[in-house]
Symmetry: C2
DNA sequence: ATTGCTGCAAACTCTTTGCAAGTTC
DNA sequence: GAACTTGCAAAGAGTTTGCAGCAAT
């Protein structure tokens, strides 16, 4: 539950923070701040832009969410779930998660054996660029 | 040579464009626009900020360079060389190229066999986040 | 001569900041 | 009541745009 999530990270429980978490749970497509604000304002019309940005920053700091960025556009945010990669279409600017444990295993083993000089790996993330071939636009 | 590169892409050869290309050749660390401008102004003090941005956009369009973006900061640019991945340190914000043909081969084979439903892959790129363990700060 | 490019400055977008007033624990 | 959080509005950074004049072909 969201209240416990906040408590766990030593954050005070406020309607604004709950609203941002709620938005993150409901907006699945790596929303940008603007979408999050728009979503929240439906039920909570007076929330300030600055508050949402501050809240998102706080959550990023506490690793409740992560930032995502493509080569083209503004900041987006990603609720933390399992370790996943991104499928990205340049044309539509759509981003989808891609989870593949088999791939993670291969990559982990590969780098454990090989290593990289002067670099200690903490996270391996793929960005697969290309085109979505389904018709349902998200 | 830079002049031929421009000609090949149907772009007029101008001192400003040559200067941007020269900067890209000399600045190896995925420079941001600001650094590029600063570099160029050493020899070419009157170049306009807007011109550099326009030139970079033109080059991105013609695929002479690419955009790179981390989760934190501004746009950076990357001279096109061979297919490479990125090592990225969150602390220092440093980015290095990582070239690994063996890895590319493994990834290509993996995805040729496996495929992704509703997605046609055009490019596979890794971002390896972690820490640089050498002392020479770039 | 034609087309394309540059410089300039103003405008724009997204994000951050400062602070007084209000909430949460 | 102490510490933190919010709303607001203004400022900031980075980037884009419009256009008159200039340069390249």
């Amino acid at each position: 539950m969201n209240r416990e999530l906040l408590k766990k990270h030593g954050l005070k429980i406020t309607p604004q923070r709950l609203a941002v978490l709620d938005a993150m749970n409901n907006l699945h497509d790596h929303p940008m701040a603007e979408c999050i604000i728009e979503f929240i304002r439906k039920n909570h019309p007076n929330i300030a832009t600055g508050t949402v940005y501050k809240t998102l920053d706080t959550f990023v700091e506490k690793v409740i969410i992560k930032r995502v960025k493509t080569d083209r556009d503004v900041m987006r945010y990603d609720a933390i779930t399992s370790h996943h990669h991104h499928l990205y279409c340049m044309e539509s600017d759509r981003i989808e998660d891609y989870v593949d444990e088999e791939l993670n295993k291969i990559l982990n083993e590969y780098f454990i054996n090989k290593g990289i000089p002067n670099f200690q790996i903490e996270e391996i993330k793929l960005q697969l660029s290309g085109k979505f071939t389904d018709t349902t636009q998200k």
